[in-house]
């Protein structure tokens, strides 16, 4: 009986099952570079320092989508909806938006219209979901700390479910417009079986009304 906690928590799980009966809660990672030296280009270092000092410039405060990978670092629950050719990420936090990852073998469009969440394609490497995203605008920050990026941003995310209740998140930031070489970071997520997403409309929150526009 004393092992029940362990086994009940592990449950029966297929590693390519990203959880259809609950929600994921990412750890809050305010600074993506807390464990690494960022290979800044000069302008990007200046921009980072400006962003960091001017948090009111953070467009997340204006209820715009947080972008990738920041939306995975905000400690707000999200749900993963798996279908054979597409995986959807449905986020409670940020701007009540969703994101899609195509698994049907398509390539990125040649000249994607830059947007907030990018264009994402994915594939499985063993039990790891690898998501490759391009086509971002340059208005989001990579994290709360304010790491900037350009429209050349290319993000590779790796989602590895390490247990019934745990997932490892690795991310590669590749942006030749802002950094001299690609750099990496990682985080972890916790599963909440049976969890449901709440509705949180940022534009309707009392705090938002106090922001200058």
């Amino acid at each position: 009986m004393k092992y029940c906690f362990l086994f009940c928590a592990l449950g029966v799980m297929h590693a390519q099952d990203l959880g259809s009966d609950g929600v994921w809660l990412p750890a809050h990672v305010a600074d993506l570079a807390s464990k690494t030296d960022v290979p800044f280009q000069a302008w990007a270092k200046l921009k980072f320092e400006t962003n960091h000092a001017m948090q009111r410039n953070d467009l997340d405060l204006r209820c715009l989508p947080p972008g990738v990978p920041r939306i995975m670092l905000m400690a707000r629950p999200f749900e993963i909806v798996q279908t054979p050719n597409r995986i959807l990420f449905v986020y409670e936090g940020g701007a009540h938006v969703w994101r899609q990852v195509w698994l049907d073998g398509r390539a990125h469009p040649k000249d994607p219209n830059p947007n907030w969440l990018g264009h994402s394609i994915g594939h499985w490497e063993g039990d790891t979901l690898v998501v490759d995203s391009v086509g971002f605008n340059d208005r989001t920050w990579l994290d709360d700390a304010g790491h900037p990026h350009t429209e050349q941003l290319h993000v590779i995310e790796k989602y590895s479910r390490t247990g019934r209740l745990t997932m490892k998140y690795d991310v590669v930031i590749d942006d030749p417009g802002a950094y001299t070489q690609s750099w990496t970071s990682n985080s972890s997520l916790t599963f909440r079986p049976g969890g449901k997403l709440a509705e949180d409309i940022c534009l309707d929150s009392p705090a938002n009304g106090t922001l200058p526009r």
């Binding site: 259809s20 009966d21 204006r62 209820c63 715009l64 989508p65 749900e79 909806v81 798996q82 279908t83 959807l88 449905v90 701007a95 009540h96 938006v97 969703w98 899609q100 219209n113 947007n115 907030w116 969440l117 449901k196 997403l197 709440a198 509705e199 409309i201 534009l203 309707d204």
Partner: protein
């Protein structure tokens, strides 16, 4: 007899007239739906377990249906049928004001959620993704929103719901129809672009039926005792656009327009 006199005396017979349709803002032929080649409909698809399949390679496109109680609005086809809406005095006044002041306070124009059932009458493509225990709606507009319907045959809503824009939705399948019961609204969303109002007592029953591969029949019963004298039902026919994929649309990006909406 007595009841009839009470009804007359309380003003049902002399209620003010409905505000008039403001007229066309686009000409027929200017709408995206007028430019799509016609496809040939096949039978409605089903999932392997027999449930109706609301998905596939494409998206649903409701078109612009500005008024869910009128068959034409602003010069184009609107809802499927006319409804004599059983307004209470305050909802009639509010409706008339909103139509006559050109919807200047429309929450959607401020990038707030379109709401239910308006999402089924507004020109934003959407997809329905069915899992074992949910139907996930994803919308291109107004702010790239999602909506989750939890499948639960008992139809039970959580207790002490926090009022929200989209409400709490619980669904079940009745043959080929997805039936969704929605409650827990905040009363702020408009039922349609025209401006039919609601209260936070709003309770919706939605019925989604894929009549054939290209056609989604949508019917919604609006039960709101603080806004309407009795429940009423509106409907729309929503068309499938084969191959259509949803684009990211972020209304809040550079939103500078609503402050200039001053009405008249």
């Amino acid at each position: 007899m007595c009841v009839a006199w009470v009804a007359l005396a309380s003003g049902f017979a002399q209620q003010p007239p409905l505000a008039k349709d403001p007229g066309p803002f686009l000409q027929p032929g200017d709408f995206p739906e007028d430019k799509v080649p016609t496809a040939v409909a096949g039978p409605a698809p089903h999932l392997p377990d027999g449930r109706p399949d609301f998905g596939g390679n494409g998206a649903w496109y409701p078109g612009f249906n500005g008024n869910l109680a009128e068959t034409t609005w602003k010069g184009v086809k609107s809802a499927d049928k006319h409804v004599d809406v059983p307004f209470l005095p305050w909802t009639l006044t509010t409706y008339n004001e909103r139509v006559e002041n050109r919807a200047k306070d429309d929450p959607e124009a401020k990038c707030l959620p379109v709401g239910v059932p308006r999402f089924m009458f507004d020109p934003y493509p959407f997809q329905m993704i069915q899992t074992r225990n949910q139907v996930v709606f994803v919308f291109e507009g107004d702010n790239y929103l999602w909506r989750i319907v939890n499948i639960d045959a008992t139809g039970t809503h959580p207790k002490n719901l926090k009022p929200t824009w989209l409400g709490d939705a619980v669904g079940h399948y009745e043959g080929d129809t997805l039936v969704v019961d929605v409650t827990g609204f905040n009363g702020l969303a408009w039922l349609d672009q025209a401006g039919h109002a609601t209260s936070d007592k709003l309770h919706l029953t939605e019925r989604y039926t894929r009549a054939d591969s290209l056609t989604l029949k949508y019917e919604v019963t609006i039960d709101d005792p603080e806004a309407y004298a009795k429940p009423w039902t509106a409907s729309n026919t929503i068309h499938w656009r084969p191959g259509m994929e949803l684009m990211e649309s972020i209304c809040q990006e550079d939103e500078k327009s609503s402050m200039h909406m001053i009405g008249k």
